[in-house]
């Protein structure tokens, strides 16, 4: 045995590493943020904003989940998970101290460096804000590398607006944050309507802007069209796609989108690589 949690000298990326739930926070009805730390000496390489891990709840299953925060290199991982099936349900049911299996990091990153010197617009739909949060936090941490930074968040209802207190923190940290909901409830006094409606109001100049978009695929397609309409070239509009992922290393074939393996070539893609593909039904 070479490391706690795994009895193997050379670890295959197909084998999970044991992580412990160090902290847990309820975000909304069925959505939780879990902070994970390595159980033994074995830890995964550092994740970058946009990348994902395969989270395994013992006996229940394994799912791809993007990192929702980047720790400072000590091996901790943060994931925001919505309970929609057996595996995600079991992950959300995990209590502090419980152990999960984790594989990763996998996939491509939000190209933050390439956005330097220009405006940045981040557009999130629902839980799509989670994979964008590490990028937003890095934009704030390195605020002077960018011009106008805008975060636009849409949710179905006020109860489903992810990270509400952080939205306020981000405003105070010097970036514009605008929100909208499909249908208002309770004491919501903000905007009502699709997130696409926020784009014409956002303070960026298309020719020097970069966009990061994550949400339901249909939302991303409409958002992308709006962003293009405001002059952002498709090569600088980046979307994060979701497909069936099982091996996460480009071998099992489930995540194929035409010639692309979403797990390996994505999940973050420049729009010009995927736009014609997303327009074909059932591709």
């Amino acid at each position: 045995m070479t490391a706690a949690g795994t009895d193997s000298a050379v670890l295959e990326p197909t084998t999970p590493v044991a992580y412990r739930v160090a902290g847990k926070r309820k975000e909304m009805g069925d959505t939780w943020t879990l902070e994970l730390e390595p159980v033994g000496d074995q830890r995964l390489p550092g994740f970058l904003p946009g990348q994902f891990s395969m989270l395994y709840a013992f006996g229940s299953g394994e799912v791809p989940i993007s990192v929702s925060a980047i720790a400072g290199g000590s091996g901790e991982l943060t994931h925001t998970v919505r309970a929609v099936g057996a595996a995600t349900g079991a992950i959300c049911d995990a209590r502090p101290g419980d152990q999960l299996g984790v594989r990763g990091p996998f996939g491509s990153v939000w190209p933050l460096d390439a956005a330097e010197g220009g405006d940045v617009v981040v557009v999130a739909g629902g839980i799509g804000l989670a994979p964008l949060r590490p990028a937003i936090e890095q934009l704030i941490a390195e605020r002077d590398r960018y011009r106008a930074v805008t975060v636009l968040c849409g949710a179905r209802s006020p109860d489903e607006m992810l990270y509400p207190s952080e939205l306020q923190d981000w405003r105070e940290a010097g970036i514009a944050v605008e929100t909208t909901v499909d249908s208002a409830t309770g004491d919501w006094e903000g905007r009502v309507g699709l997130v696409t409606k926020l784009i014409p109001l956002a303070p960026f100049q298309g020719e020097r802007a970069t966009a990061f978009v994550c949400g339901p695929e249909i939302m991303m397609r409409f958002v992308a069209a709006e962003l293009r309409g405001r002059g952002i070239p498709p090569g600088r509009i980046h979307v994060s796609l979701e497909r069936n992922m099982q091996c996460a290393v480009g071998h099992c074939g489930h995540c194929q989108l035409a010639h692309l393996f979403v797990c390996r070539d994505g999940p973050v893609f420049a729009l010009d690589r995927v736009e014609p593909l997303l327009g074909v039904r059932e591709l």
């Binding site: 795994t6 099982q246 390996r264």
Partner: protein, 377 residues
């Protein structure tokens, strides 16, 4: 070039076994040619041939005593290099909730594959690019493949569903083998042997062979030329990637999906199809778990399942995925076609859907003006 006598086949297999190889070769099993572990040359399908057509496969006798007088059966060398089911790791959760994963050892090989047809040699090299040609190397495949000794056999007759000549993968093996045999029946039952590696040379020296005479070489050339002229099918590959990208919306996909049963036979018999699922099985107590890799098929609804439903709901979308992957997107992914022209998908399709016919119909009704999809890389 050398000549191996018919009676030297048994010593050849023996020499391979002596060197520590598990010998896998053709034998008759369940009414079909199957590549199985062989303990003796007597298990080879002597005097057996096959009759293949769309949706049809039958063995028949032949009276010339040919040892390799048949074409491919349903299974391929993929069954040994990329086994249908493979345990990846076992997990254990103890009473304190500690979880631990133990990787399964890579157990396969070293293999000697005897009787590899040229199309299947091409298929092996295609799966090499999938499993060991990328950033992540699949350790199990690599260990099975690395030391495999390959005895190719050049086909003497093409089957009715064969089209390797169209795919430029046969019928004569070009490289990638240690030894390549051409079975010669006229003028004495013997094999012309081409040596492809140093260890092939060594094995042949142990078995004993004689120098080939011009008439042996000429006879083998004639066998391969005859075979190439007998192809039961053909597939025009010129510009096929662009053809299928352009015709991603084409009425033929609807038409073929009305016949397709989405059974997945074509993907199971295909020597290059690599899709697999990652399945977990856990005991009822929830303490022991095993992860297994299993062949999967893009014809299953589960294949493209994401929360909310499968991406490819219709049979049309699933057939289009398979054929477009095989003949077009594969080229962008791995630098070659995913089809080697072995014809298995035609033979083993229960409703005789024919990939060469489907491609030809789309070509004949090419929607030249269609935008389709573009691959950027």
């Amino acid at each position: 070039m050398r000549v191996l006598e018919r009676k030297s086949l048994s010593p050849l297999l023996e020499a391979l076994r002596r060197r520590g190889y598990e010998v896998i070769g053709p034998t008759v099993r369940d009414g079909a040619i199957s590549y199985e572990p062989l303990s003796s040359a007597d298990q080879l399908p002597v005097g057996v041939t096959d009759e293949q057509e769309g949706g049809t496969y039958r063995l028949a006798e032949r009276d010339d005593g040919a040892v390799f007088g048949f074409n491919n059966g349903a299974n391929s060398w993929k069954n040994h290099l990329f086994p249908p089911e493979l345990s990846l790791w076992k997990g254990r959760r103890d009473e304190d909730g500690e979880i631990r994963f133990t990787e399964q050892e890579h157990r396969g090989g070293p293999y000697a594959f005897v009787g590899v047809r040229s199309c299947d040699l091409a298929a092996i090299s295609i799966q090499d690019r999938v499993f060991i040609g990328d950033a992540y190397v699949n350790g199990d495949y690599e260990s099975r493949r690395r030391d495999a000794f390959i005895v190719a056999v050049n086909c003497a007759e093409a089957g009715n569903t064969c089209f390797c000549a169209s795919m430029d993968t046969g019928p004569r093996a070009g490289d990638g083998f240690d030894l390549a045999l051409t079975e010669l029946l006229d003028g004495g039952h013997r094999f012309l042997v081409e040596v492809g590696s140093e260890r092939g040379e060594e094995v042949l020296a142990e078995v004993g062979s004689s120098p080939a005479e011009p008439r042996d070489v000429a006879a083998a050339d004639a066998v391969s030329e005859d075979c190439a002229s007998q192809m039961g099918r053909e597939l025009e590959t010129d510009g096929i990637k662009e053809l299928l990208y352009r015709n991603v919306e084409h009425p033929r996909w609807d038409e073929v999906s009305e016949r397709c049963l989405s059974c997945g036979n074509c993907t199971l018999v295909c020597p290059t199809c690599f899709c697999h699922s990652i399945d977990d099985a856990t005991d009822l107590a929830g303490t022991e778990s095993e992860r297994v890799r299993r062949w999967d098929s893009c014809f299953g609804l589960e294949h493209s399942y994401v929360h909310g439903g499968s991406v490819r709901q219709s049979g049309k979308a699933r057939y289009r995925q398979w054929m477009t992957h095989k003949l077009a997107t594969w080229i962008d992914q791995f630098g070659s076609s995913g089809c080697v022209g072995c014809g298995r998908c035609i033979t083993w399709c229960p409703v005789a859907i024919d990939i060469t016919e489907e491609a030809a119909v789309i070509r004949a009704t090419d929607r030249i003006e269609a935008v389709g999809i573009n691959a950027d890389d």
